[in-house]
């Protein structure tokens, strides 16, 4: 009874939104910038028309005003670069890159300035910038609006990369990202955006630590490693494997850079088998990085080589039947697990 009353369910979008609002109340240095972050650029009676393309910043303009919630022109290099400069000089900007594929427009600002300034300037300049971006296929949005791409960013020293898997981790990681003194990119999967699971999300501010994975389900026979949306595929696959008599452990990676090597390795050393489920392109990716980590650090424990479930090495197709073949599915996770368990 008490438990039921205490359960506070909110959507993934609300969770991100709440984290930003709470941090803006807590710290006047936090500002928000992005295309249609408020919408209608403050027109009388039309304020807050959009609240961001993903509605992550809804309600912030009425509460915090035009100085701290800024609609930007479609100038990613301009406003993300401005976010870097503002961060380096005393603000804590939260900027929205509408879709991760648009990073091509502003890559220079992210990888040459945000990522490198602290190091290059001898540790004397901090860039407490948070970039939030939408990613993921499955919505019929074709090649430029469906990419996952987080692996690219983990390649660059200096950037932190986190991927929430539900409203609880979304709020906690978003809060942690804003409070972090390094540049952090938070990748939000579009298929999770409207997601309101049964889990409790505290109303008060809290952080989920950057650099820590969580065990989403305990098991003994095989480790399934998920990232954001694919964690849910792993959990469903684990339920199916259980009905066939196998106990699967699910690691929800949450943080890609830094990565929680120890949690991954401890799980694999226990179960002796691993399947990695990743929606990013398969070459030079987080999945291949995890596979290398497991092969190098847990080789003696393995009963089978680690296996990766990823899309093929191709851009994201538009056509529904092809897109369904592109993204990893529960069936493919179970199939891979069966091969590893054989």
């Amino acid at each position: 009874m008490v438990q039921a009353e205490a359960t506070r369910k909110i959507s993934f979008i609300q969770a991100i939104n709440e984290a930003i609002a709470q941090e803006m109340r807590r710290d006047p240095k936090v500002i928000v910038m992005g295309e249609d972050a408020a919408g209608a650029a403050g027109r009388k009676g039309k304020e807050d028309a959009w609240g961001g393309a993903m509605r992550l910043t809804k309600g912030l303009y009425p509460e915090f005003g035009a100085a701290r919630v800024r609609d930007t022109p479609i100038s990613e290099a301009g406003f993300i670069g401005a976010g870097v400069g503002a961060a380096a000089t005393g603000l804590r900007p939260v900027v929205e890159l509408m879709y991760v594929g648009f990073f091509g427009v502003c890559a220079d600002q992210i990888v040459n300035n945000a990522a490198k300034m602290h190091y290059m300037f001898g540790g004397k300049v901090d860039v407490p910038l948070t970039i939030m971006t939408a990613m993921g296929a499955g919505t019929g949005s074709a090649a430029q609006h469906s990419e996952t791409l987080y692996s690219v960013f983990t390649h660059f020293p200096g950037l932190k990369c986190v991927v929430p898997s539900d409203p609880y981790t979304a709020k906690g990681l978003m809060t942690a990202a804003i409070r972090d003194n390094d540049p952090v990119i938070i990748f939000n999967n579009r298929q999770l955006m409207g997601f309101t699971p049964s889990g409790h999300v505290p109303e008060e501010a809290y952080t989920v630590p950057i650099g820590k994975a969580r065990i989403a389900r305990e098991g003994t026979d095989i480790t399934l490693i998920g990232i954001g949306y694919t964690t849910h595929l792993c959990l469903q696959a684990a339920a199916e494997l259980e009905s066939r008599g196998f106990s699967a452990e699910v690691v929800d990676l949450l943080s890609l850079s830094p990565m929680d090597d120890e949690t991954v390795l401890a799980s694999v050393r226990k179960t002796r088998r691993a399947v990695i489920v990743d929606e990013d392109y398969p070459r030079c990716s987080i999945a291949s990085d995890l596979s290398a980590l497991i092969a190098e650090e847990a080789f003696d424990y393995l009963d089978a080589p680690p296996k990766r479930v990823t899309p093929p090495h191709t851009s994201v197709p538009y056509s529904g039947p092809l897109e369904a073949l592109y993204v990893p599915t529960v069936e493919r996770v179970v199939e891979a697990a069966n091969e590893v368990l054989e």
Binding site: G78, G101, S141, P312, Y318
Partner: protein
């Protein structure tokens, strides 16, 4: 379609009307297909039909155009098959892109449509490159890039205009200023309240034109294409137009603009204006106009049937065409 005179001859006028009606019927049908769940997130060009029509009236199949996320009207004005376009929207193997690009990426190189593009401003330098090809090869081909007022804030426009001007490339930079970048009003996001003014900084003509007037679009487009073909370099055109629908299917535009404003622009509807002109100038009888409208509706209906009856691409298409060769 390729003519050279400054005012459109009767044949061109009728082609323009048919093209614009076809675009509107196509967009209405596309919306119905979207409402039936066959595609998602379509960006409607209703209201903006005159802009590409007036420009493309001066172009040949071997001239190139480049589009945006909102590009069905560009494709139709350039002569891309309605059947292949609708099939592409439905993700079918008979589509312009074999179903792999969809509404935001329609391309047909045989018709000189080198692609709709979902990254705002991304196509502007690419179009400049197509103009470079024409110059290097010594053809009189031209390249046209359509982009929105939103894209006018991207650095790519400025870099491309500079390049095109220093090299005198045969390219038309056509800003379709429909007043909104998603929900963001033009007067907020464009400093100086003009896109056309920016041409001066790059040493090229900058022209403001009523994008709701097919006749004015034709005239301005004709002069810019003539300049380009003659080797006189690029032109920046700011066509002032209006998007009747939301940014995408589920967007309610009244969240950021007023009904009065919408009514004002709809009262200047480009189709109605051209139709009135056809009647006033006795270019076509009422019966002839009706026949054109019927033909447009029939063509779109046929395209829809074709698209719906076409097969989806086979699974082998998932990894086809990533490379030309990849041993």
């Amino acid at each position: 379609m390729a003519t050279t005179s400054t005012a459109p001859d009767p044949k061109t006028l009728l082609w323009m009307y048919r093209t614009m009606v076809t675009i509107r019927r196509f967009e209405e049908q596309a919306r119905r297909e979207a409402d039936a769940g066959k595609l998602r997130g379509m960006h409607s060009a209703i209201g903006q039909e005159a802009v590409p029509t007036g420009i493309c009236a001066h172009l040949r199949d071997d001239d190139f155009i480049f589009g945006t996320h909102r590009s069905h009207h560009h494709c139709i004005a350039k002569g891309v098959s309605l059947k292949k376009m609708m099939a592409e929207l439905l993700g079918k193997s008979t589509g312009t892109n074999k179903g792999k690009g969809g509404t935001m990426h329609i391309a047909d190189i045989d018709k000189g449509m080198l692609g709709a593009n979902g990254i705002v401003g991304s196509n502007i330098p690419v179009a400049t490159g197509a103009a470079l090809t024409a110059q290097v090869k010594g053809t009189d081909g031209v390249s046209v890039v359509f982009f929105g007022d939103g894209a006018a804030a991207q650095g790519t426009l400025h870099e491309a205009m500079n390049l095109a001007s220093i090299w005198k490339l045969p390219v038309l930079f056509v800003c379709e200023n429909n007043r909104y970048a998603q929900s963001t009003p033009f007067e907020y996001s464009i400093a100086g309240a003009s896109v056309a003014n920016r041409a001066a900084g790059y040493g090229m003509p900058g022209v403001v034109v009523d994008g709701q007037s097919a006749l004015e679009m034709y005239e301005v487009g004709g002069e810019a294409v003539r300049r380009a073909r003659a080797g006189d370099g690029p032109t920046l055109i700011e066509a002032q137009t209006y998007r009747y629908m939301g940014h995408f299917g589920a967007d309610n535009p009244l969240a950021y603009r007023d009904e009065e404003e919408e009514a004002y622009y709809k009262s200047k509807d480009c189709l109605a204006a051209l139709k009135a002109h056809l009647a006033e100038t006795n270019t076509a009888t009422e019966a002839e106009i009706q026949a054109i409208e019927q033909q447009a509706a029939d063509d779109v209906a046929e395209a829809s049937i074709f698209a719906n009856e076409s097969p989806y691409p086979g699974p082998e298409q998932l990894t086809a065409d990533v490379y030309i060769s990849y041993p």
